[in-house]
């Protein structure tokens, strides 16, 4: 149950121009004057406590959200109660793109730790991107990148075996963390085995077993959610060599 207090809207001015995520987020490539225009659009910040929803499937779509701090998962659910995690989002990544299609969200977005997001009014974003070619183009690129990413997940779900899936997942995660200035080898998972399993099309027991196997094989150290990659090349080899 989400507590209403956790979704407090902060009226604080958030300056994209001074945000350290501006090279990862929507503002990529904008010049100073364009950035200041973008700031007029991103006027609200919102805090979401761990476990709470940023938005839910079926809710009216009005805004995109850029993760400022924290960590999210998105998941779709079928009528008969099946649940599929479609992605994990960290700082600088955009949430809510699915909502554009029908003015309603098609998935749930849940904070996996206490998080804060920048609220981007979608109507205003469309307006501003008619004015600034660069913004328009980079928004399109972000949507397209999401499509490419999803196709990669389809490849993973359709073709790979459990070990390959988990290895690919870990490499993707560490790569994104590294792009944000974190260590490429040491990380703390924000999600449960079950959530990883849901994303990868596996059961939590299989995820757990595969972690144990990676540890036995000297590829990594696993202490609950504390991970240390010992052999990145080894993980990469697992992903690439389907038959070995």
């Amino acid at each position: 149950m989400p507590t209403p207090t956790s979704d407090a809207i902060e009226p604080l001015k958030v300056a994209c121009a001074s945000c350290n995520l501006r090279e990862l987020c929507l503002p990529v490539g904008l010049n100073a004057s364009e950035l200041s225009k973008l700031d007029d659009l991103v006027t609200k910040r919102r805090s979401v406590s761990r476990g709470d929803h940023l938005f839910r499937n079926g809710e009216r779509f009005e805004s995109l959200y850029a993760v400022r701090t924290g960590f999210f998962k998105t998941c779709v659910n079928s009528e008969d109660g099946r649940d599929q995690v479609t992605g994990f989002q960290m700082a600088g990544e955009l949430l809510g793109l699915d909502g554009i299609s029908s003015d309603h969200h098609h998935c749930d977005a849940v904070a996996l730790e206490d998080s804060s997001v920048c609220v981007i009014q979608y109507a205003q974003l469309e307006e501003l991107s008619r004015e600034f070619t660069v913004l328009q183009h980079s928004f399109h690129k972000i949507m397209s990148r999401e499509i490419v990413r999803d196709h990669g997940v389809m490849l993973l779900l359709g073709n790979m075996r459990a070990e390959e899936r988990l290895a690919a997942f870990l490499l993707n995660l560490t790569q994104r963390l590294q792009a944000r200035g974190f260590s490429a080898s040491s990380l703390v998972l924000r999600m449960t085995r079950e959530e990883i399993g849901s994303y990868l099309g596996l059961k939590l027991e299989t995820v757990s077993r595969t972690f144990s196997k990676f540890q036995e094989d000297g590829l990594m150290e696993v202490k609950q959610r504390q991970l240390r990659i010992l052999d990145q090349a080894g993980l990469q080899a697992l992903v690439n060599n389907s038959r070995c």
Copy 2:
């Protein structure tokens, strides 16, 4: 092997305004004057023979393609030679959205029957969509719809069993055919069992077996690629009731 002659560029004028796909394709919601502007943009048509590529992974991205007639598949391939069909496209559907992310295509698009497409210069589309709000919005909706569709496939690949996957696939296919004025019950597959399997994360033998089982169960008639749906509700029930 693609024959060079099959990719002939036809300089024919293609009028979106008079195209019978305008309610399914990019022009949705545009008025007469906007439609005529769009026509200035969509100046080329291209024919692609069965088996030939419309574009390939790695090629420079310059245009989107709207399927005018025919049928396509798109597939991604990993470094180690794995192949995953990411979608099947029919009349009115857009191809190439993945290319926007990096100015290069990230998948192959192959015609499954002799086909023709409208060539949409992407740079011009961006330009025009800065001018026409409606076009901008409907383009965004198309991209978002692609994301939503991909999430649906992820749910299918991550959670469903073979019968459920095939049933969901068939229902999706007939629904799209019906939207184009074809029968909801009788159809001819344009793709092989292997291509269906690749899309659904199954092997061709499993697809074949599952078709046979559906036939035994009286859900449909299967004669090679000629299908007839006998019990649509039965297929729907398969998709919805994961435990029966």
